[in-house]
Amino acid sequence: MTFVTSDKQRFLTTLVGLVLMVLMVAWPTTAPAASAADKTAPAVKAPAPTAGSGTVDFKVRYANIKGTKAPVAEASLKADKKYKVAFMVKNVVNPFWKAARKGGDDAAAKYGVTVAHYAPTQADNVPEQTRLVEDIIVKKDADALVWAPVDFRAQVALAEKANTAKLPIFNFNSKLAGGEIVTFAGTDDFAMGKGIIDYMQKVLNQKGNIIILDGVPGATTAELRKQGMLEELKKYPNIKVVAHQTANWSRAEALRVTENLLQSQPNVEAIVCANDEMALGAVAALDSAGKAGKVKVTGVDSTPDALVAVKEGKLFASVDYSAYVIGYKSVEFAVRYLNGEKIPEQIYLVDYRIVDKTNVDDAIANRKKIGVMK
């Protein structure tokens, strides 16, 4: 084949490109999106969560605590030495982690230890958090590691490294899928996911179209909340999930995703989000579509501005579980362990409750009391 002019050739190559682009857009729709994702799943994810049962296969081991001293009352607890506690969270942008750090700081001040705070500079970045933990291990910079892992499966090897180096892990918020930890403090995210749907089915009278926005794939909290929601939804066949996407915990991304989804799903009654940042992004999208308050948006975390939005009637509800308490408890457990105490409970779960217009004032007062809201 001979080409006569260059313009024609450029035109042809562009045409080929068009066809490719069209194929790319059109092709995945030939199979339902969900099944397409399922097919790719075994290739990218190592141990898949047991579907249906709704629980992630946690192979985490709890350390055999050799402490001999009986635990002292919290009021009289003091560190025997000025231990150094490394406090590792997932990012420096979400107010949730700020509350957790405040809890850790308050516990440290009370029990007489020092806390050093760490977080990846890029939010929820697994390699960066891994490097930070490795540094702590190599430099023997801490007596205990209080840690919320970004990826509960990918960072099991890192937990094992810490185990080998005899750095005790006090896992919080996001439970690891393996390795050995001393304690876990968090909430039951699976039960929470179920609880959110149970709450919404009452609000929606067991029928209606809803959108679900998930957190970062690979985060325990995202995974378990999603599974809990889907499990509970089985009971209510008239509640239809018309769209189910991730917005990666991010407000800006949720804004965009919601704007787009509202176009194809104008008759949606509720948007259920796995955290407040995404919920507030959805609220912003509804705001610019003139639908604020008409679509019921729910989030998780009860961050300060989420509570304000609940009070204003823009956000319908937010699940409250205390980041402050799990941060506080993790440092307390570290002190007890390092003191050689027997720890009364190796799994510490805080309750969650749903904050809506009826109890938002109470939640705000509570936040102000512990100093994480002005």
Partner: protein
């Protein structure tokens, strides 16, 4: 006389966009609703504003990796000032001033100190992100005054404000690049830096101007996004930089400088946005969304390079007088094929 083939070719990216739109509309009829089209334009606005600054930078043969972080810095800084009770217009001006200043620093380091643009702006990426995090200190600022929110949520004669800003920015940039000596000098600098310098172009000043403008536009985008969300946090920088660079490249601007233009960038941004919008409308899994975006970028550049290679071969066979910059040693040339798309 208008050459039909020339015309068709100059419109090929627009055609690509139209075919993409048609494809999405077939599988997701909601796409064509006027509401959704406005929605697409509004979402493309931020990317176009960021990408406009980047286009000018890339035309000189440089790169500005700091735009997304500057966007976050403007968001957090203006958010903090407003939360402290500073009037919204002063807060907005201060934030714009700050990012413009950061852009100026970029330009000075590159033009005067002569450090590589990649390194300088990469450093600025972290500096600005660091400041944004410091300013926000894990807070989310929220609850801004209505006149400020108007910048992101308001309508002017029925047109959403982000689209108004985007149109103004793109039109100004187009005029600047194609109707002023500065614009021609920018192209010449990218096409052949040495020739440009030898022919008396003030390369230093121009570089400083371009990076400063990029900083200003990043700040503007940050303010608009803050107003749209009615919230500011350091997190907003995520996923802004690379799509903007991709939009410029898909639009046909060469990463080596000297070729391309604003029209291509606008179309490139729209292609990226329509793609994402379509995939959201179709409820496609996030794994596929990322894969599709990445593939589009590579395919677009591949096609562009292939087309350029073919064009060069074609020209050897059938030289057109005055069609290449070499014909007049780079200056002042309206780059033909490059600008036309």
């Amino acid at each position: 006389m208008i050459d039909i083939r020339q015309l068709l070719f100059s419109l090929s990216r627009v055609l690509a966009l139209l075919v993409l739109c048609a494809a999405v509309a077939v599988v997701a009829p909601a796409f064509l609703s006027s509401q959704n089209l406005v929605n697409v334009l509004r979402q493309a606005s931020l990317m176009i504003i960021l990408a406009t600054g980047l286009t000018a930078v890339i035309l000189t043969g440089g790169i500005d990796l700091s735009v997304a972080s500057l966007l976050a810095l403007a968001a957090c800084f203006s958010g903090m000032l407003m939360t402290e009770g500073i009037p919204w217009y002063l807060a907005a001006l201060a934030a714009l001033g700050l990012t413009t200043f950061c852009g100026l620093i970029n330009g000075l380091m590159i033009a005067v100190v002569r450090l590589p643009a990649f390194i300088v702006t990469y450093g600025m990426l972290w500096i600005a992100q660091g400041f944004a995090v410091l300013v926000a200190s894990s807070e989310v600022f929220y609850g801004f005054p209505p006149p400020f929110l108007f910048l992101g949520r308001g309508y002017l004669f029925g047109i959403p404000m982000p689209i108004v800003f985007m149109t103004l920015v793109a039109a100004a940039a187009w005029t600047l690049l194609h109707r002023t000596p500065l614009g021609r000098e920018i192209y010449a600098m990218g096409a052949n830096p040495d020739a440009a310098r030898l022919s008396g172009i003030d390369v230093k000043t121009n570089l400083i101007k371009v990076y400063t403008a990029s900083g200003f536009l990043a700040g503007l985008a940050g303010l608009i996004l803050t107003a749209r969300m009615n919230a500011a946090s350091a997190e907003v920088s995520a996923d802004q930089l690379l799509p903007a660079v991709a939009a410029v490249v898909i639009g046909g601007t060469s990463l080596f400088g000297g070729e391309g233009g604003i029209r291509g960038t606008v179309v490139g941004s729209l292609i990226m946005t329509v793609l994402i919008n379509g995939m959201n409308l179709l409820n496609i899994s996030p794994f596929w969304q990322l894969t599709a975006q990445g593939t589009v970028v590579i395919v677009a550049v591949l096609l562009d390079q292939g087309a350029r290679a073919l064009e060069r071969r074609g020209e050897k066979r059938r030289p057109k007088v005055g069609s290449r910059p070499e014909a007049s040693v780079g200056l002042p040339v309206e780059p033909t094929s490059a600008v036309s798309n």
